[in-house]
């Protein structure tokens, strides 16, 4: 399984702080996330598992991902955040 942590707006829209979904490509993982937490659609992800321009996803809190085909292995932790970082 892949553990997904949600922060900021994604957490607010989802109404949840975390969610475990099956491993697969990034699009499959985010698609499963959208099914589990429909509040994320469409502001954060669309139903096909594509990330919106208003969100970012980092693997293990480090590298930001954008290739829907990238494989996300079992045990990985994804962090979903708002794209706007300014303060």
């Amino acid at each position: 399984m892949v553990e997904v942590e949600l922060y900021g707006l994604p957490r607010l829209y989802a109404g949840a702080e975390r969610c475990a979904v099956a491993a697969g490509s990034l699009a499959e993982v985010l698609g499963a996330l959208a099914q589990a937490l429909p509040g994320l659609v469409p502001a954060i992800v669309d139903a096909r598992g594509h990330l919106s321009e208003h969100a970012r996803v980092a693997i293990d809190g480090r590298r930001l991902l954008d290739d829907p085909a990238e494989a996300i292995a079992d045990g990985a932790v994804l962090v979903v955040i708002s794209a706007q970082a300014g303060g």
Binding site: L9, A43, G61, R63, V79, S82, G86
Partner: protein
């Protein structure tokens, strides 16, 4: 037009003032737009070379902008420009307010204050310069900006708090509870013995195409309520803290750590703060977004939260809110106050000073000592760079400032585009004149490893984007709702000020603004040695090994200045200056620099 093509020069002396209108050539507006661009030009022109920032001759400039006074959302802002008493370099702060709107109705594009009064006074400015006057205000000595606002109810006011009166080098200038915060503009007003300025007038800037402005205002208001601004509306920038904690970007304990742990970060999240103190949302004048989140009545942004919280070892919401309220009341910049206190805490922790201060302490008594320049507060009021110079013993390596301005809340070792942005920023360590953090949080950018080939260009792009918004002036929180800022910026300039620039010409203008800031600094003695970060960030890797390469940063700084067209020597070649500033007739550049 959205511009009046003249400025108001206010000469202060004794207990009197004299006002004079001075024309502004269209070439200036075409070359530098307005806001921070116009302000940089006026600083170059009105500040004597080498002037002490707190001397009467040093100008304090309010630069207005072409979009100010229109129905376009988020445009009720002005820029405050001076030679910073904290850095000795250019300082330009932005602030939103009804004061900005009223200042435009004076019928001018800028106000330049020079000279000084003999006694603490209010300066009343009027569209009719013969009605401008000075009103001594001994009863307001020591008053907070809010108290000054109450005393002058019904007027549009910009004021300083007790810190400005006592020349604290990071004192703010406040209007409508918003601050032109960084760099110490409040101390300049204090040095001029001006407690407050009021503005009154009825001038209306004629618009080049009023119907187009009305249409665009409606459309922009609609866009301003879309997904790109939802974070600012629903959570506010305080939401950054918990995210940054997770991404190991959050500076804690004077940049010794990058996380305070999940549970503590959660208490400082919007949800945690609401639960602790209650919440209301407000907004600046003329803004449809309304990102101003108040907890327990105190306005809190991410930068204040990080600086008065984790940076000082504090994770109690009530303590942070009390400190933020004290900064508002006293009129001090939250980032520099938190940064200087965190530095003092680390000095004490290391046994370098005998001061009774420690991480986690209640900040309010210390802020009050700073504002009153009482005891150790008198030294802390000078900012961390000067404190480090006094403490010595190698403490400079962890005085977290650039050019004397304390670092904002982004850890440079884990945000290395931002590291370069902080090092080169003309006003010192700065997150507002550059959005380099945004580049670090783009897919495809390795934020743990900057690259000579790509990082300088990313920093330049974000600086130019910010310069455009700060010159027009549009709030940066609207940027996500603007697909192409160069195209839309050109359209907005044409429909308001009637100035036709292509998107490419607008890009050149933005780059020219940034170059002019650097050129001002060079005139005041800048050398490339000051475009760096404290040694901590090179010599102290984080737990996971993240560190910044001193050599790489130096190479990127040089590449940045070359790409800016200024070169790395203090005195740029005359041909470079002519190429950069060709549209301006700003006088003999070389004479100004040599």
């Amino acid at each position: 037009m959205g511009v009046f093509r003249r400025l108001l020069h206010v000469h202060l002396a004794g207990d009197r003032l004299r006002c004079e209108h001075v024309p502004i050539d269209d070439a200036i507006t075409r070359a530098l737009i307005g806001g921070v661009g116009l302000g940089a030009h006026l600083l170059w022109r009105y500040a004597p070379r080498g002037v002490d920032p707190l001397a009467p001759a040093a100008p304090l400039i309010f630069a207005l902008a072409p979009l100010l006074g229109t129905p376009l959302t988020t445009t009720a802002k002005l820029a405050v420009i001076c030679k910073s008493p904290l850095t000795g370099r250019i300082s330009d702060g932005l602030s939103s307010s009804r004061f900005a709107l009223a200042a435009k109705r004076l019928g001018v594009d800028a106000i330049v204050l020079t000279g000084a009064l003999d006694h603490l006074s209010i300066v009343h400015l009027d569209e009719d310069p013969t009605r401008a006057r000075v009103e001594p205000c001994p009863a307001l000595a020591g008053a907070s900006p809010a108290e000054v606002g109450e005393a002058l109810a019904g007027r549009r006011v910009a004021a300083i708090g007790p810190a400005g009166e006592r020349l604290v080098r990071f004192a703010t200038l406040t209007n409508d509870g918003r601050h032109a915060g960084r760099g110490g503009a409040g101390a300049l007003l204090g040095a001029k013995r001006v407690k407050a300025i009021t503005v009154h007038g009825d001038a209306t800037p004629p618009l080049a195409d009023p119907a187009a402005v009305r249409e665009r205002a409606k459309e922009l208001a609609r866009r301003s309520l879309g997904a790109a601004t939802d974070k600012y509306r629903r959570l506010g920038t305080v939401a950054n803290l918990e995210t940054f904690d997770r991404l190991r970007i959050l500076p804690a304990r004077n940049f010794q750590r990058v996380s305070i742990g999940r549970a503590k970060a959660r208490r400082l999240s919007p949800e945690g703060l609401r639960a602790e103190a209650g919440h209301v949302r407000e907004g600046c004048a003329g803004c449809t977004i309304g990102c101003d989140h108040r907890f327990g009545g105190t306005r809190l942004e991410y930068e204040s939260l990080f600086a008065l919280g984790p940076l000082c070892g504090i994770d109690e919401p009530a303590q942070v809110l009390a400190a933020a309220a004290a900064c508002d009341r006293l009129g001090v910049d939250t980032i520099s106050a938190g940064g200087t206190l965190a530095f003092a805490m680390e000095c004490a922790e290391r046994g370098l000073v005998p001061w009774p201060i420690a991480f986690g302490d209640d900040l309010v008594p210390w802020l009050e000592k700073i504002a009153a320049r009482e005891g150790i507060g008198d030294l802390l009021a000078e900012g961390s760079r000067r404190v480090a110079a006094r403490v010595g013993q190698g403490s400079e390596r962890f005085a977290c400032q650039v050019k004397g301005l304390e670092l904002p809340g982004y850890e440079p070792r884990t945000m290395q585009t931002m590291a370069l942005g902080l090092a080169v920023a003309a006003r010192g360590a700065d997150h507002n004149r550059s959005g380099a953090y945004q580049a670090d949080l783009q897919p495809g950018v390795d934020r743990f490893a900057a690259a000579l080939a790509t990082t300088p260009a990313r920093v330049i792009e974000t600086e130019d984007h910010a310069a455009l918004l700060d010159a027009l002036i549009l709030c940066k929180f609207l940027r996500g709702a603007i697909a192409d800022p160069w195209v839309e910026g050109a359209e907005l300039l044409a429909m308001t000020a009637g100035i036709a620039l292509s998107p490419d010409e607008l890009r050149e203008a933005a780059a020219r603004i940034v170059a002019l800031r650097h050129l001002y600094n060079r005139r005041e003695g800048w050398t490339i040695a000051e475009d760096t970060l404290p040694a901590r960030f090179f010599d102290e890797p984080l737990e996971d090994g993240a560190a910044l390469s001193r050599e790489l940063l130096a190479a990127m700084v040089a590449a940045y200045h070359e790409a800016r067209g200024l070169g790395v020597e203090r005195l740029p070649a005359r041909e470079r200056l002519d190429a950069l500033f060709a549209p301006l007739d700003l006088g003999p550049w070389a004479e100004g620099l040599e």
